[in-house]
């Protein structure tokens, strides 16, 4: 994600950087230890990190937590075939594009 793509609030808010840093720490230290196996293409932490970068801490955190609570063993059945990648993981882009 380039600097221009990020929202103004995300750029000026120091809490955005702090939360991205926390996510980064979690991914490096905790996630690998618990052997997380995510049904999504972008894991919750990665998705939240990118969402905070893109939209700012408030909206980004909301999107991140929504994915966290949507994660169940049956989540994949909610998505059509074209939303599942070749590894069987759900494609979850940050931007909901119309294309």
């Amino acid at each position: 994600m380039t600097f221009k793509d990020r929202s103004f609030l995300s750029i000026i808010n120091p809490f955005s950087y702090a939360s991205i840093g926390l996510m980064f720490t979690y991914q490096r230290l905790v996630s690998q230890q618990i052997g997380a196996d995510c049904p999504y293409e972008l894991s919750c932490s990665e998705h939240a990190k990118r969402a905070v970068e893109r939209y700012g801490i408030l909206k980004g955190a909301m999107i991140g937590f929504y994915q966290l609570q949507s994660c169940t063993p049956r989540t994949g059945y909610d998505f059509p075939d074209h939303a599942i990648n070749s590894d069987g993981r759900i494609i979850n882009p940050i931007e909901i594009d119309e294309d």
């Binding site: 999107i63 929504y66 994915q67 609570q69 949507s70 169940t72 059509p80 074209h82 909901i96």
Partner: protein, 261 residues
């Protein structure tokens, strides 16, 4: 009579000599998946004969085969032979829509500008218009596709405020409304557990205790993210259903259509 016969043989020999593309050889390259050789062959033809229409026609097909869409569109726009080939136009539309709906739309616009706009009568093009405005007449859709259209239409008519309101009233119930039923119980249970923890913390430790404040924070985050997320997810559901409908139409239309015979 003798002169005509001489002319006939003269032209026969000339046309044989001017034959630019060996289509059987191209078919062999395609079947054998020899893309590098295929490209070299087409480049050599361009060097030998220049940018003629028939060479461009094969280059267009090659670009589509190798998913080189920018080059494909440029070649197609300047190829008169391509715009006369209805099956190639239909095949291209189907191929492009699977890659990007917007790119397929761009292709149809080019068809109306450079070609004779034959694609306007295709089911795919009509379905694209229908996906933009589901209130249009859908009688052209065959029986097999009606179900997918109804599925899209029901998602299209769903309101974001209803989804948000439902999620606010009963946590995660908005998920059932937008069609994400399989993750309903997980989200509902998570919210209920955090609600109970908060309730117990208030009752046992009081509202100003740090544990209660932390519990309230957790519950608030999950509760509000559930409302906001449902509204956000509805946009994605609509987009997914639209794509699904158009892909089904593309599959339906792609029967008996091949890029190379």
């Amino acid at each position: 009579m003798r002169t005509r016969l001489v002319y006939f043989f003269f032209f026969l020999v000339c046309f044989q000599a001017r034959s630019q593309v060996n289509s059987e050889f191209v078919d062999y390259l395609v079947i054998s998946e020899l893309n590098k050789e295929h490209k070299t062959y087409l480049d050599q033809l361009t060097l030998d004969f220049g940018e003629t229409d028939s060479v461009r026609y094969y280059k267009t097909k090659f670009d589509l085969l190798t998913n080189n869409y920018d080059s494909f569109q440029n070649e197609f726009n300047s190829c008169k032979l391509c715009w006369k080939d209805t099956s190639l136009i239909n095949y291209s539309s189907i191929h492009l829509i699977r890659f990007s709906i917007e790119r397929a739309n761009k292709f149809w616009k080019a068809d109306s500008t450079y070609g004779s706009f034959v694609s306007k009568n295709s089911i795919l093009r009509k379905s694209y218009n229908l996906s933009l405005n589901p209130k249009l007449d859908d009688s052209f859709l065959p029986y097999e596709l009606k179900f997918h259209f109804q599925e899209y239409k029901s998602a299209y008519n769903k309101k974001a405020w209803v989804a948000g309101l439902l999620s606010a009233a009963i946590p995660a119930s908005g998920k059932l409304y937008i069609g994400r039923g399989n993750s309903f119980f997980g989200a509902f249970a998570l919210n209920v557990v955090h609600g109970i923890i908060l309730y117990e913390a208030i009752n046992r430790k009081g509202i100003e205790h740090p544990y209660t404040i932390v519990s309230a924070g957790f519950f608030g985050v999950f509760y509000f993210s559930n409302i906001f997320g449902t509204i956000h997810d509805l946009k994605r559901v609509k987009n997914e259903r639209r794509k699904h409908f158009l892909y089904e139409v593309a599959d339906y239309q792609s029967a008996d259509l091949y890029l190379y015979e």
